[in-house]
Symmetry: C2
């Protein structure tokens, strides 16, 4: 069975439980995967998983509706399931309403007037956004020519004062990785006054073997916060579940800053079911690889440069004005990218289903014929 | 049709759309309302709505599952629906993951080393809990003999410095109201450096005509924050949606502190559907009144004093040790109350379905026969 066949039949099998018709249940049958919006546009701009939540998660959501009126949110069950999934202790887990809440918690728990944030440029903006309400400095360090974090420069900046260091690895919006050995060497010798925020939102998509995750540090290093999300590989961006994994003393500190009563009970049920769905990671990776291959082939054919991606999106050159390019794509029903300064000669393209990438490919080839790219 | 008949047939009509059988859909049929937990215990301790979410909300959740993988969360649609429901502008609304996030936001936005919180004792604890991570003082003022907030004493305390004043009205855990005219007189003359947090989680249950809500202040007074929740009258405690209504300059300030990407998309869909379900408020009030009547009759018969309630719970005397009482109730499958110092001679009882309150009534009458209360 080829890869496309595998993904398609895998989904069909997963959806087989949903054989019903009529009334409210018709909605279940409409749950075809993909990135098409209600108005017919295909959104390839938000790094969402085009497969949607797993069939097991859909079933778990429906079964949990009866608990919607109750406090509890499957909180302890989800923490236990995560601890089991990651081979850590429940005391290592802090839940958030998305990993963005974990980032907010970290700014509150670790930043201050004398504790700057050190981060790459460009990188994921949320941690910087929370600066608006907190008095802390941000030092941004441009990515190096090979698109890795400038670990040496970040390290030097951290030596002056207590610091919070943010690594989005793989990095959003570039899709590139920084070699874990370089970061590990720094963590191994860093003082406890340097806090490492290791945002691993896209780790499952990585193919570069210079990358590995940071979980091994949490028992030894209370200053390492590993940040994960259910939004990407598990397709739960709309359900708002993220978490951190830390030494248990750090967990206690982070939980003081959490919004109470996390998570939403339907999201908790979906997250637990997703962890138990052994095929979902494989299916998400397979469909992503298939989409990536279509995009690579197309960009190669057009001679448009792109960054090596280890995520579910790619940064590629567009040979022209970015906003004009995006508007023309939108005119063709394809929502792609946004501005990520200073990389305004690149567009960030999220991977959808293979047929959606085929549509993008034919559109961008048409742009070439029109002399637009 | 008597009241019990009204509630029961109203639910039956609302559930009529869910006529299906077999497979995953069997779960829909299991969505009988009530407060019974999976182990058979009846939870009458968390002020949850025993009717569960409205049938319209259940349907909306199922229809929105297909959006679980997307960012967006029906955020703008929910804000617009709330603005319409409340006859305010979208710019007046701040969404939170439950009203508890709004309380957390308010501590971050308004408190500081020189800005104390002034609150009743006892009152809802969440706003005090967020003090753990913020350097602010808390001045608690005991409720008066008639269980109203001591408005005069709170007012006097607020004159010394900029202050944040918390009114949970009706008050949790007492269930009692404070006359709105007394609070209004203070708001009318207060300086802008006094911020009023008006927590109206239970307002729909009020029967005392000395109470009215605080919405009228928001256009004139940027220092008034009206706080609401979908957890009580709409039965959505597990879905985590709350909000504030404020002057638009205050809204901008509060939103800086929000966790990004609120709400969960299923919760957003359920909230919008609940606002459009014109019967849900009436049904929730009707079943609450029926439960309340059973409890009043029982407590009167036993000669146990209770506080006048304007909520979906009641505080009543138990003539003995509180923990022993609770444990004995738990032995009978009824989870009731917790400790609310200094009122350790009272238990807080949440109202469930009428048949659940009948079970509570027969249990407490049995306790009397055993000489336990």
């Amino acid at each position: 069975m080829d890869r496309r066949g595998f993904v398609t039949s895998g989904m069909a099998a997963g959806l087989a439980g949903f054989t019903a018709s009529g009334g409210v249940l018709g909605a279940l049958l409409d749950q075809t995967p993909g990135k098409r919006l209600a108005n017919g546009d295909i959104r390839l701009s938000s790094n969402e998983n085009p497969l949607g939540v797993s069939p097991a998660a859909r079933e778990a959501i429906i079964e949990a509706i009866v608990e919607s009126n109750r406090y509890g949110g499957r909180r302890q069950e989800l923490i236990a399931a995560l601890a089991n999934y990651l081979s850590v202790k429940p005391e290592n887990i802090t839940l958030g309403f998305g990993s963005t809440e974990i980032l907010q918690i970290c700014t509150q728990a670790f930043q201050g007037p004398n504790t700057p944030l050190i981060a790459a440029a460009p990188t994921f903006e949320d941690v910087m956004d929370y600066q608006d309400t907190m008095p802390f400095e941000v030092h941004t360090v441009p990515l190096m020519a090979d698109l890795q974090h400038d670990v040496q420069q970040m390290h030097e900046l951290s030596m002056k004062r207590p610091s919070v260091v943010y690594f989005c690895n793989p990095n959003n919006p570039t899709g590139t990785i920084t070699a874990s050995a370089d970061i590990d060497a720094w963590i191994a010798e860093a003082p406890e006054t340097t806090t490492f925020l290791m945002d691993e939102a896209y780790l499952e998509y990585v193919t570069d073997d210079r990358y590995w995750d940071s979980l091994k540090w949490i028992e030894e290093k209370p200053n390492v916060v590993v940040i994960r999300t259910f939004s990407k590989i598990f397709g739960m961006a709309g359900l708002r579940v993220g978490y951190s994994v830390t030494h248990e003393t750090t967990t206690g500190r982070l939980q003081e800053h959490s919004v109470q009563n996390s998570p939403n009970v339907l999201a908790g049920a979906a997250a637990i079911a997703s962890l138990q769905d052994e095929g979902i990671v494989e299916r998400s990776i397979a469909v992503n690889e298939e989409a990536k291959a279509i995009v690579h082939t197309t960009l190669d054919e057009l001679g448009l440069e792109y960054l090596p991606t280890n995520t579910n999106f790619i940064m590629h050159k567009i040979n022209g004005d970015l906003e004009t390019y995006r508007n023309r794509m939108a005119d063709n029903g394809l929502l792609v990218g946004r501005n990520f300064p200073p990389m305004l000669d690149h567009n960030r393209l999220s991977f959808g289903l293979p047929n959606e990438m085929d549509q993008w490919a034919s559109t961008i080839k048409d742009f070439r014929r029109k002399g637009w790219i």
